[in-house]
């Protein structure tokens, strides 16, 4: 039905239920907040026409097959122009396959697995890849503290921490020579007791601990480390970048560093505006998922706008949107400036954040590739 | 009139097993119910113990109480009606002694419990020998002894016995019926269900014959023993 393509539909493939409902919520909220802005402006201006926008939000239950079904449904039934999500690689990789097969633009704001976008011209991502962030952290620590013995603690069953841990290890050993990662310990998703691993880490004589985990685990890891008498610095990655980290962790986390996309405290411009709006609306400081989703959806919007007009033929329009997306240069996102590589991965800068003694995320340093 | 059963209907999954059974027992009597396989003997006892619900319209009174108003456990603990269920149904994961102790769950008379326990052991000395053994590992007959002993321990204003002789050796059976007689003399009413009609009638004072869920005949034991119909159908010619 071409005639009825009067509104622009954008699909959101989010894990509303399942293991990571918080991620789903962030995705949904960011997208809805964006939609409000668009509706206030009377629609999305494409060429000479203003189109109303509709979000099609599908729950992928944090399951691969549901993510695949959701994508198929949104593409073939709902006729979406582009899809935001899924967030976790476990869903983003298979769902990306579907989007690519149907030649529909999909951007996963949060998935760091190379397979998500690899050989898939229609699939993009909104975050930086592990091969970039790993060395960033390694270099920063070397420069800042001059340590040479590192310990890593990560979740082996989860994509993101595992990838990042590997790249960090590689980078660290390139700088400090083989064997300089003296403890490389893992656990499994949903574990809450890390005492055995931390005891091993403490015993290994590591000078610091790198743990690219999510905020809920960070709190437990840091506290347990301190209870076991581990007093060296603990360093993290962008997954620490949630207001919850400090809320759950408390003073134990004060003074620690992590690399991320943006620093909430002392943020400026669009970033600050986003954070304030989000906090006002939903009552808490947005985490990285929300911020990345926000950027991704704006990227999609920009690509749509740049097509200069929609034909009403979904297939053609989808192609046009994807082509415009690939061409985007220096997009000013709240999580940094982005340009896409051949594979659809963004090149962007990272910042190092320090958790202040008041528990705020302070900008410390910027690191660009 | 200690127990009066009137117009008792019972159904299992919509299939009627009892079609209006009525009878009554005086305190201190020994009464037996005889009948063929599947006639509804066990069901009658179960209905008195409230293990199966009676259909509407039934009247069950025990010493002036409306039985239907009592939960199954209260029938035992408050009214003192004990029941030796069909198929023994022991708690195999408890020892012999624990099975007997559990039966006194609701009793508050330590003296009485002690006396009753001694009595059970004197009727069935084998149980005393085997008191620490799991009930499940007892031989068939030993289990039957425990089932009777256990029922006695729960209380004994009235005992409902469902085929207590099953699996007992002849000698054992004799001594058990002797003991039951004695228990009866001490004031326990006994309602006995037996396949072995001759045995039952010899033991009881009165009897009822049940057929297809209905009482078809009643009378004193001698009368029934000499009834030609009963003789033909239930006494093996």
């Amino acid at each position: 039905g071409e005639k009825r393509q009067a509104t622009i539909k954008i699909g959101i493939n989010a894990p509303i239920t399942g293991d990571i409902p918080k991620v789903g919520e962030g995705t949904k909220y960011a997208a809805q907040m964006w939609l409000e802005g668009i509706q206030a402006a009377g629609g999305l201006q494409v060429g000479d026409k203003k189109y109303p926008v509709e979000l099609v939000i599908e729950d992928n239950e944090a399951k691969a097959e549901s993510a695949v079904k959701a994508n198929t449904k949104m593409i073939t039934e709902d006729g979406v122009l582009a899809i935001i999500g899924p967030q976790a690689s476990k869903q983003a990789i298979p769902a990306g396959g579907v989007a690519n097969d149907y030649q529909t633009l999909m951007i996963s704001p949060w998935s760091t697995n190379p397979d998500t976008t690899k050989n898939r011209p229609y699939v993009f991502r909104g975050c930086f890849l592990d091969p970039f962030q790993g060395p960033v952290v390694a270099k920063f620590i070397k420069g800042e503290f001059g340590f040479s013995k590192a310990a890593v603690l990560y979740d082996v069953a989860s994509d993101y921490p595992k990838g990042l841990a590997e790249f960090f290890k590689k980078a660290w050993e390139e700088i400090n020579g083989p064997g300089s990662v003296v403890a490389y310990e893992s656990f499994t998703t949903k574990d809450t007791d890390f005492s055995a691993q931390l005891t091993k880490i403490k015993d290994s004589g590591a000078e610091f601990l790198f743990t690219p985990q999510y905020y809920n685990e960070v709190a437990l890891i840091v506290k347990q480390a301190h209870e076991l008498g581990f007093t060296q610095p603990i360093v993290g990655s962008d997954s620490w970048g949630s207001a919850e980290t400090v809320k759950l962790c408390g003073p134990d986390c004060y003074g620690l560093f992590f690399s991320t996309h943006y620093a909430a405290a002392g943020a400026q411009g669009a970033t600050k505006e986003f954070i304030d709006r989000y906090q006002k609306k939903y009552g808490y400081v947005p985490d990285d998922v929300a911020a990345l989703t926000w950027d991704s959806i704006r990227l999609v919007a920009q690509a749509i706008e740049k097509t200069g007009g929609l034909t009403g033929d979904l297939k053609k329009d989808r192609q046009a949107v994807r082509d415009q997306m690939a061409k985007i240069k220096d997009f000013a996102g709240i999580t940094g400036n982005m340009t896409f590589t051949e594979e659809g991965d963004p090149i962007k800068c990272a910042v190092i954040v320090r958790i202040s003694d008041k528990g705020e995320f302070e900008f410390y340093k910027q690191v660009c590739p | 009139m200690q127990l009066r059963v009137e117009n008792l209907h019972v159904s299992y999954d919509q299939i009627r097993a009892l079609h209006g059974v009525s009878f009554s027992i005086d305190a201190g009597e020994i009464v037996c119910i005889i009948g063929a396989n599947g006639a509804g003997k066990s069901t009658t006892l179960r209905a008195i113990s409230r293990l199966v619900p009676a259909d509407k319209g039934a009247g069950l009174r025990f010493e002036g109480h409306d039985l239907l108003a009592f939960a199954p456990d209260k029938v035992v603990s408050v009214l003192g009606i004990s029941h030796v269920p069909e198929g023994r149904r022991l708690f195999g994961n408890l020892s012999v002694l624990e099975n007997l102790q559990l039966a006194t769950f609701a009793r508050r008379d330590p003296q009485g419990i002690k006396r009753d326990m001694e009595r059970v052991f004197s009727i069935f000395p084998r149980l005393l020998e085997r008191r620490t053994q799991y009930a499940a590992t007892l031989s068939g007959g030993e289990q039957q002894m425990l089932a009777v002993g256990r029922a006695y321990m729960t209380g004994h204003r009235m005992m409902l016995l469902d085929e207590p002789s099953m699996g007992l050796a002849p000698l054992m059976m004799l001594s058990m019926f002797e003991a039951l007689k004695e228990i009866n003399r001490d004031g326990t009413t006994i309602l006995l269900v037996e396949q072995n009609a001759r045995l039952a009638l010899k033991f009881a004072q009165r009897g009822y014959v049940i057929e297809n869920g209905r009482i078809v005949l009643e009378g004193s034991s001698e009368a029934l023993l000499n009834d030609p119909e009963v003789k033909k159908a239930y006494l093996g010619g």
């Binding site: 239920t17 293991d19 409902p21 918080k22 919520e25 082996v156 310990e185 893992s186 656990f187 499994t188 949903k190 809450t192 007791d193 005492s195 055995a196 691993q197 005891t199 091993k200 015993d203 809920n216 709190a219 437990l220 506290k223 209870e227 008498g229 919850e244 809320k247 759950l248 808490y284 | 113990s49 409230r50 293990l51 939960a71 456990d73 029938v75 035992v76 004990s82 029941h83 269920p85 149904r89 708690f91 195999g92 994961n93 408890l94 624990e98 102790q101 559990l102 039966a103 769950f105 609701a106 009793r107 799991y134 499940a136 590992t137 031989s139 068939g140 289990q143 256990r150 029922a151 729960t154």
Partner: protein, 307 residues
């Protein structure tokens, strides 16, 4: 040596949670012969109730301007929460298990699983998706002997787990209530003939089991102060492993197996690369059960009815 001792302490704490949850599990499980898949989620709910009670108490105390010692508040929290959670247990029994008393056990297990899911998502719907942190009722004090570290909380937790274990064991093995519960697991329809009310024993069992879960939840919240609605799932399943590894119906066995499970997990991490932890830990459990098919204290055929 210090390294080893430290791990022993780690294992004791971690094992005590498995033990605690397995205790409650084993209560309901071995008594009603039901896989009580709800237990993990009751544990979770207990932790949340504990959090609610603790927060309320703290607010009340602050409002009244009293200054009570932390341990008093902790004890009050535990007691109140145990009570509230036991009511939940009774409700679960009433809704999910009683109607299925004579159904195949697996069916009741499935309703349990479903009630668990309702508790999880009910929590999510009620409290939102953010994780909550458990308030610090007592100050953590860290002690060290040489380079072995432990905290006051750890000692408290292990002691409570051991006490409950011994107490419950006595209760089940020696009291007539315990006897009735065991009998019920064997052949419930006949239990009323002993003058025992099923509708008393079953809720009681659930109440005790759930109260234990609440105690476990609060202690857990103290040790791992990040609560989320799904925290009970994995722990629940693993305690299920412990409860049965100990031998069906054996309270002591369940608790010991809980500690053992903790030790296995911690020590495999200690000795092997930690990525192999689950692989090795569960292979050990599989082997144990292959060679001790009825757990540590389980009775094999001896309690099944004679042929």
């Amino acid at each position: 040596m210090a390294f080893f001792m430290q791990n022993v302490i780690n294992a004791l704490q971690w094992g005590s949670f498995y033990a605690l949850i397995a205790l409650g599990y084993s209560m309901v499980y071995s008594i009603l012969m039901l896989f009580n898949f709800t237990h993990g989620d009751i544990f979770m709910t207990g932790a949340y109730i504990g959090l609610g009670v603790a927060t309320a108490l703290l607010a009340l105390v602050a409002a009244l301007g009293w200054s009570l010692p932390g341990w008093l508040l902790l004890v009050a929290t535990i007691i109140i929460s145990m009570f509230i959670t036991s009511l939940l247990g009774v409700l679960v029994e009433r809704v999910g298990y009683r109607p299925l008393r004579s159904a195949p056990r697996a069916s009741a297990a499935i309703t349990g699983l479903m009630i668990g899911i309702i508790l999880e998502y009910g929590n999510l719907a009620l409290l939102g998706t953010q994780r909550l942190s458990f308030p610090e009722l007592i100050q953590t004090t860290t002690y060290s002997v040489g380079s072995v570290y432990f905290t006051n909380k750890k000692i408290f937790i292990v002691v409570v787990a051991l006490l409950l274990m011994v107490g419950l064991h006595q209760f089940i093995q020696k009291s007539r209530w315990g006897m009735a519960m065991r009998a019920m697991s064997y052949d419930f329809p006949i239990v009323p003939l002993m003058g025992v009310s099923l509708n008393l024993i079953a809720p009681l069992t659930f109440a005790i089991g759930s109260a234990l879960a609440a105690a476990g939840g609060i202690l857990y919240g103290m040790a791992y102060p990040v609560l989320d609605p799904f925290m009970g799932i994995l722990l629940g399943w693993k305690s299920f492993v412990a409860a049965i590894l100990g031998g069906r119906g054996s309270i002591l066995g369940a608790a010991l197996a809980g500690f053992l499970l903790g030790f296995i997990e911690i020590f495999t991490t200690m000795v092997f690369p930690s990525t192999f932890r689950d692989l090795i830990a569960y292979s050990i459990i599989l082997l144990i059960l292959t060679f001790r098919p009825y757990g540590f204290f389980g009775q094999a055929h001896s309690t099944q009815l004679r042929l």
